[in-house]
Symmetry: C2
Subunit: 388 residues, 2 copies
């Protein structure tokens, strides 16, 4: 790679511009080659950010500004708003909220943390906000054996979302947006049906709330589509989609109508780092050239099929096998067994991750192929056979 | 530079590690060459972060954890704490607060924004927290003509700080920390005396609050010391010092006793970017080799002396000339005049910045020397002579 860098690229790697004020000359062109070339349908606007937490924090701000401007209509900002916001008080700092889901993870800064409910250690000792928290469906597996139960469970959660919106409005706290992960990752790789997400999107629209999909962990192709929410087949796209991690840079896509009504309302000094967009452009080129999204779908099927087979053979060790693309996981009987399995696997050269309280999750790279799946399944099958 | 990069460096520029889990092999060595080589006295611990806002957000978290652990003593975390924190409620999410100052700027994410009070546009429409806000001294210039008035003004502000801590405790909201900039930058380049900051540090200690100095804008040498708070001559160091901007990476230094009591309590995926530490190591090498801190002190004196001369000649256009090192500024009669002066200067090739509602601020690079000051002063003198 070093031999092919252009002068502009070298400058990008050794300088750190204040991106919002003084972007490199052809930065917008570079965005077309990188982030904008994979923008989710219906979301033509993009902002870059330095990390996943900042992406969600600023997406919340975008949503609150959009909501307030809707309420304001053609009225101007009042003197009272301008003065009260300086001392953290309404009406300038309105009593708005983001609705989130139990088990969700959206980051660790203060705004994000108020929507994160995956592990106590993330939240302990940190003051928070009284924002509504809805239950996330707890599906029973195998899905085909629990169709009716799972439908009821999802309906229960959706009903609770609507109840919370109404209940919070009654106490003058307005739910301006709903944030959700396509697959709850830190919280235990919890899935819901495409139908659940479509209905949730409808509820958001019905109540005038923005619909924010957090693809920080699911985005980038591993689920078999570039964005996991593309599986849902939404008629009306999400309003905002946040990303980070595999995208090399943080940031978010959004609909035109969410564009801030004045400059510097969504801003910080660096807004990420343009050198990461260069890396991302290369990554996207390779993804396309090697057809890696379809590869993830294919290899994921091999992995999932193998895991289902292991589940049938070792039901006392493996349950609730689930996944989309290579974004697979299963449950173990308890925390201790889970951690022991992870350690044994590591000693055999396989790095596995834990999530939730007793799940093991797979997050292989996009070049993970069927034969890697079989390699893993052979090793893991031995581990399970000898597990005491 | 490209010719001298080592293999490790190239790898650092083209990879993006999850720094907290899988740091590059000799990352801790590299920290010694970069951040730790300029650690403020008494603060041997460092965390890197991706931006200034994340640095302050995580510094607040560090302070809240430290405070809660102090309260907890030898008691264990209770089941009630672990459960209540998951739904954003006390006692798990305690009603703690950071005390900040009117006119301060500490970033734009939710926690930071609750301590930012510089411009309404930063805060409008964003829900906030009820945290105490103290007045920052409004000094009269020239300082030597208003010694008594300024002492009284600073005493008034310090008294208000103590009153707020007591008042908030009465309503069960505990001030766990105080955050302050050595020079309020966005808020208008507002200075206070070294004595003010020493007394504020004493108040923090007296009430058991952590003392957090935000050097995001002042750090890196421009004030004539590497850290602006080194001018104060504190007996007991600050507890936490945050940085970003000129340091190429965000992060914070802290005292040993503020070290989190468990891993992953202060954490995110990237924790900044190790390639920026490489750049910082080079920057620090140049600063030392070229004696750029003393240069900033010296060139700053030339700039300030020249500005005082212009103030004497054009008192209807320039007032309240102030500065430390090259971190200088002055007031203009109003917003319109300020913006007009900035535009005329830009058209003559001089980039000036505005801050507060009518100030012009200088933020030259560290290689700005006396002759640059004279070059500027000549141009600006002409501008003022011809200003209509």
């Amino acid at each position: 790679m070093m031999k092919t860098v252009r002068a502009w690229d070298v400058s990008t790697f050794i300088n750190r511009p204040a991106l919002g004020i003084l972007p490199p000359e052809n930065f917008s062109e570079r965005l077309k080659e990188s982030l904008l070339s994979v923008a989710p349908k219906g979301l033509p606007q993009v902002m870059t950010m330095a990390c996943g937490s900042c992406s969600n924090e600023n997406a919340f701000k975008l949503i609150f500004m959009w909501y307030r401007n809707k309420e304001r209509g053609r009225n101007n900002v009042t003197k009272e708003e301008l003065e009260s916001c300086m001392i953290n008080q309404p009406p300038g700092c309105p009593d708005y909220a983001m609705l989130s889901f139990m088990g969700g993870f959206h980051g660790r800064t203060f705004g994000c943390l108020a929507t994160t409910h995956s592990k106590a250690i993330h939240k302990l000792d940190i003051p928070s906000l009284d924002w509504p928290i809805a239950p996330f469906p707890r599906l029973k597996y195998p899905l085909e054996d629990f169709v009716k139960e799972n439908q009821q469970e999802e309906a229960r959660c959706l009903e609770e979302v609507e109840d919370l919106i109404v209940k919070y409005r009654k106490k003058k706290k307005i739910v301006a947006g709903i944030i959700i992960e396509p697959i709850q990752s830190e919280g235990g790789d919890n899935h819901a049906s495409d139908d659940f997400f479509r209905k949730l999107r409808d509820i958001a629209r019905k109540h005038g709330c923005a619909f924010l999909v957090d693809e920080v962990q699911t985005g980038g192709g591993c689920t078999g589509k570039f964005w996991a929410h593309e599986h849902w087949g939404l008629d009306d796209p999400a309003d905002v989609v946040t990303f980070s991690k595999k995208m090399m840079t943080g940031g978010f896509f959004h609909k035109e109508e969410f564009r801030p009504n004045a400059p510097y309302r969504i801003f910080n000094t660096w807004l990420g780092d343009p050198s990461k967009n260069l890396l991302l452009a290369e990554v996207i080129r390779v993804i396309k050239r090697e057809d890696l999204i379809n590869n993830a779908a294919h290899a994921g099927k091999a992995l999932l099929t193998g895991l289902l087979d292991l589940q049938a053979r070792y039901p006392h060790l493996i349950s609730r096998v689930r996944g989309r693309g290579t974004f697979c996981s299963f449950d173990t009987p308890n925390d201790a067994t889970r951690n022991k399995l992870i350690t044994i696997a590591r000693n055999k050269g396989v790095v596995l991750g834990g999530c939730g309280d007793r799940s093991i999750r797979f997050r292989p790279t996009l070049i993970f192929k069927d034969h890697h799946a079989h390699l893993f399944l052979n090793i893991f099958s031995d581990i399970l056979a000898n597990f005491k």
